[in-house]
């Protein structure tokens, strides 16, 4: 009946119910939190070239180059329900596909280890910006900062800020 095992089971189950409850309450604390940092993005020296891609030597594709400045305030709130922030700089462009979006720079910012602010100056693209065909000349590109704040528990919000649009040259450089 009321043996040591029964008592142990009761304590264990209530204890871990409480851990789960605390986790749920932790998730609730950040439901209405919506970080909106000041983000400023600038694009410098954009130009387009017609180039061979690394893995398809027989064909040529449009490749665009530019450097960018990015300044962002703290897009990762330092609260209890935060593990890290996965930050990407995404480029949306009018190209040869229906939707064209690539990531040109990224960083995982860990809580208490990395600086939650971003300050980039004349940054080159971390990943090359190719179109699948010849759809870059004279088209618009939009650069923006996207980030996910990874929570301990709860929702994974997707935020984006600082959209800036420029028009690429009509001519190959």
């Amino acid at each position: 009946m009321h043996s040591a095992l029964t008592r142990g089971n009761a304590i264990f189950s209530l204890g871990f119910t409480c851990v789960a409850l605390a986790t749920f309450l932790c998730a609730v604390t950040t439901v209405f939190e919506n970080p909106s940092p000041v983000v400023s993005v600038n694009i410098h020296n954009p130009f387009v070239r017609n180039q061979q891609q690394y893995h398809r030597w027989s064909q040529r594709f449009d490749r665009a180059y530019f450097t960018f400045d990015l300044n962002a305030g703290t897009c990762m709130p330092v609260t209890a329900n935060v593990v890290a922030s996965c930050t990407t700089v995404r480029l949306r462009f009018t190209g040869s596909q229906a939707v064209n979006q690539i990531i040109v720079w990224d960083k995982i910012m860990r809580r208490d280890i990395d600086d939650p602010r971003i300050s980039l100056r004349d940054m080159k693209l971390k990943y090359p910006f190719y179109d699948d065909a010849h759809g870059l000349r004279g088209n618009n590109i939009t650069l923006s900062l996207h980030w996910n704040v990874v929570p301990v528990a709860g929702l994974l919000p997707r935020n984006s800020e600082g959209h800036v649009t420029i028009k690429l040259d009509d001519q190959y450089a």
């Binding site: 040591a4 008592r7 209530l14 204890g15 871990f16 851990v19 605390a22 329900n81």
Partner: protein
């Protein structure tokens, strides 16, 4: 019955002790969870909440699992055997 070399009968609590233990471990664990949540919210660290809650669980195990003397103050008083009855009545 013997479990891990301990006679389980010696780990028995009386009824009043069981009632006391049930109330005690619920107060300890819920209290530590509330305390831990408050502390974790104050310093904005969720792991602190978990540590304090699990500390409460450990304390509850220590206080409520072994049959301490405070749980055995009201032993069950069994009736004496009826003198006329020589042996227990057989059940069919």
């Amino acid at each position: 019955m013997r479990l891990l070399g301990i006679d389980t009968a010696s780990w028995y609590m009386d009824y009043e002790g069981q009632k006391l233990m049930e109330g005690l471990f619920q107060y300890i664990i819920l209290g530590f969870m509330t305390l831990g949540f408050g502390w974790g919210y104050y310093c904005q660290r969720f792991e602190q909440t978990i540590y304090v809650t699990l500390g409460g669980v450990a304390l509850a195990f220590l206080i409520c699992l072994p049959p301490w003397p405070m749980y055995r103050r009201h032993p069950i008083k069994w009736l004496k055997r009826h003198p006329k009855q020589k042996s227990a009545p057989e059940t069919s």
